[in-house]
Amino acid sequence: MTIVLNRIDDRLIHGQVVVGWGQPLDVKFIVLVDDAVAESDWEQELYRMGVPPEMEVRFHSAEGAVAHLDGYRTEARPGILVTGDIATMRYLVQHGGVRDVNIGGIHHRAGRTQHLRYVFLTPEEQAALRDLAAHGAVVTAQDVPAARAVPLEELLTVREDA
């Protein structure tokens, strides 16, 4: 097994990740890549508290994660990598060889327009996602396993009302 899901989700570790994806994929570890969380013991404890005891959580900054990604890919156990924003995932695509990107949750904020119920993007974020694809990553949006994976081009075309 390996990293079975590379996810962008502004809530980082939460119910959809731990239960929605974690249980059907039999996930044994989560790699949380976030510069702020990587520097905060309190935040790390908060996220550790949210996962069952058999699920390990590892924390890295974006730069720090790159050196560990090959090791995670050869792990015998399945794991999920999660970032809180597109910029962090783009760094991992460009420098860490990430080739499949799941958009799990980018929520409403001023300047963003709604594409799916759980995906809101600024024009700059749309461009950043296209850049992921230009670097060879397959980008889809899918909040939970039972939902359809929406390809990037469809995601960027579709508009949903809030």
Binding site: D10, R11, L12, I13, H14, G15, V17, V18, V19, W42, L46, Y47, M49, G50, V51, G105, I106, H107, H108, R109, R117, Y118
Partner: protein, 128 residues
């Protein structure tokens, strides 16, 4: 019976509204609880929603649905920021019934209700 709010109940989708509705049906005291329905919000927006509701109601007790959930994460951050309050994660109906029927509805009542809710889970029939 005063209708002074005692606690927020926050959870995914309609979880909170459903529980509060059930509490009201059983006890007539649903008005003591403030349901917070979280749909399509990022963590920062959930925090803001909880903080604003706590400010407007004066409530310092929060019940949430899921320990790993974004409501729980947000609630922990809010309580840390304001430096007071009680959070109970993993709320269920027996827990909230016990809480609204308590005499004061403070942190001790929330802790006692948590124990009641934990003890109220049972399994019947075959487990094979």
């Amino acid at each position: 019976m005063s209708d002074t709010k005692r606690a927020l109940v926050a959870g995914h989708a309609d979880f909170a509204a459903g529980l509060v509705s059930a509490v009201d049906l059983i006890t007539g005291r649903g008005a003591l609880l403030v349901p917070i329905q979280v749909k399509g919000l990022c963590g920062a927006d959930i925090e803001q929603l909880l903080r604003d509701t706590m400010d407007s109601t004066g409530v310092r007790i929060i019940f949430t649905d899921l320990q790993a959930g974004s409501c729980t994460m947000a609630a922990r951050r809010v309580l840390r920021q304001i430096g007071e309050g009680t959070l109970v994660a993993g709320a269920n109906l027996p827990m909230l019934l016990d809480f609204v029927m308590s005499s004061d509805g403070g942190g001790a009542a929330a802790a006692a209700a948590a124990e009641r809710g934990r003890a109220a889970v049972s399994v019947h029939g075959s487990t094979a």
